[in-house]
Subunit: 96 residues, 7 copies
Amino acid sequence: MTLKPLGDRVLVKPAPKEEKTSSGLYISSGAQEKPQKGEVVAVGAGKLDDKGERIAVDVKAGDQVFYGKFGGNEVKVDGEDYLLLRADDIYAIIED
Amino acid sequence: MTLKPLGDRVLVKPAPKEEKTSSGLYISSGAQEKPQKGEVVAVGAGKLDDKGERIAVDVKAGDQVFYGKFGGNEVKVDGEDYLLLRADDIYAIIED
Amino acid sequence: MTLKPLGDRVLVKPAPKEEKTSSGLYISSGAQEKPQKGEVVAVGAGKLDDKGERIAVDVKAGDQVFYGKFGGNEVKVDGEDYLLLRADDIYAIIED
Amino acid sequence: MTLKPLGDRVLVKPAPKEEKTSSGLYISSGAQEKPQKGEVVAVGAGKLDDKGERIAVDVKAGDQVFYGKFGGNEVKVDGEDYLLLRADDIYAIIED
Amino acid sequence: MTLKPLGDRVLVKPAPKEEKTSSGLYISSGAQEKPQKGEVVAVGAGKLDDKGERIAVDVKAGDQVFYGKFGGNEVKVDGEDYLLLRADDIYAIIED
Amino acid sequence: MTLKPLGDRVLVKPAPKEEKTSSGLYISSGAQEKPQKGEVVAVGAGKLDDKGERIAVDVKAGDQVFYGKFGGNEVKVDGEDYLLLRADDIYAIIED
Amino acid sequence: MTLKPLGDRVLVKPAPKEEKTSSGLYISSGAQEKPQKGEVVAVGAGKLDDKGERIAVDVKAGDQVFYGKFGGNEVKVDGEDYLLLRADDIYAIIED
């Protein structure tokens, strides 16, 4: 079973919690917004602008990203945990 | 009796609760938003844009979808439970 | 005495409460929004868009509709109860 | 002394309270909004749209109207009570 | 010392409180908004619209006006009390 | 060290508190907004409009202004106190 | 590992706390917003405007800036602390 996000929504596979602490990477935030790290699995076609054209999402499948948890929804597919986020809730791409 | 949703509204038949847990699919969320799974039964013609043209809804009858319960309304038609959602409250299409 | 709704407002005659339960139709919702069933009696000319043209309302007199009570106003005309709703508070047309 | 409303504001002379109950007309609403009945006395030139042109108000002096009290302001002119409302707070025209 | 209001702001000289009651004019309102009477002293050039042109303010110096106190600021200039209001907080022009 | 405000932000040097009371000028306001007097030190290039052009700020360096404290930020540069305000939080220019 | 901010987001390296007090520079603010000083490390390509073109961010890598902490997110990369801010949360460029 696969998920095809709609509009400006993005499906993200969160990084395992143990890897996140061992890599020395740590994100803190206030109570309302908890940014996290993961890999983009699928992206929607984008929102429609005023002319009826799609506004392409800034990330693509395979991108390693930082995102805010607030506003997103956890979903379990075939036993694995994923997140459905809006594109604007993704803050940065991680490049090595 | 059938329902014809208006504007960007979508009529959804929620999946039976027993099937949802047996399939290993599970969605958790905060207190305000409870995403769920179901099948699209009917869609509205879409909202009007600034030029007076309809913005087509991204889902169609028969689509299996994930959606947020927050904002929608439960309706019982001929003894069966349905949901009336706005198109933007539908997060992703489920493909097998 | 008759009422001519203004803008995107719609005058609705709510279905009698006894018919609603006997027909097996039931709508539940949260505390803020109580959807109901009724018949459209009159509609406004619609809101003005950016070009000064009217955006026609999606329902017409005689339509059987589901609507949200939140935001509307009850009005008694010649001894009968009616509702004044905004067009966007009408969720779906009921077809038999 | 007369009042000339500005923008989309409308000056309304509320119907006497005794007439309202004797005519069998009654409007109820929630705590925030108390719709009432009255006669339009004067209307503003309308709000300016994006092109700098006036958006005409949907009512005119002499119209009998239903309106929401919430947001309006009571004003006493030459010993009589009036209301200053925004045009959008007027819900319907009463026709006999 | 004089004040030159900016944008859509308007400088108003409130009418003396004794004149207001002696003339039989009285305005009441809810707790959040307290309309008052006064004379326009100076007006700003108006807000800029989307094309970069000024939207002229609907009142001019010398106009007797009704206004809402909520949102405005009291200012004392050379020992006299004035109010700085947004143009939209002025409800009507008083004509004799 | 100097500060170059960005967008529609304005750097203001508040008038000394003793001068404000000795000049007979006094501004009172509600709890949320405390207008004050000062001199403009530097202005940003303005916000971008829909066409990508800058909307010039209505004040310039050297202007004596009234402003609302709410929303601004105090900053100490080389031992002196300044304020960073949005242009819209400046209400009027003071002319002698 | 490097971070590439998305949209109108900006990556900032906060100035060390000891330098901030020793330099005589101090920023105070209310409880909700805590402005700070730092150096821009990377900027996003900017938000899309209505025509689908990018609105360039007003700062560039290397700029010394004042910013508001409210709304931003702290991130630790390779053991060092950074901030991810929206461009509008950056108030001024510091020039020596």
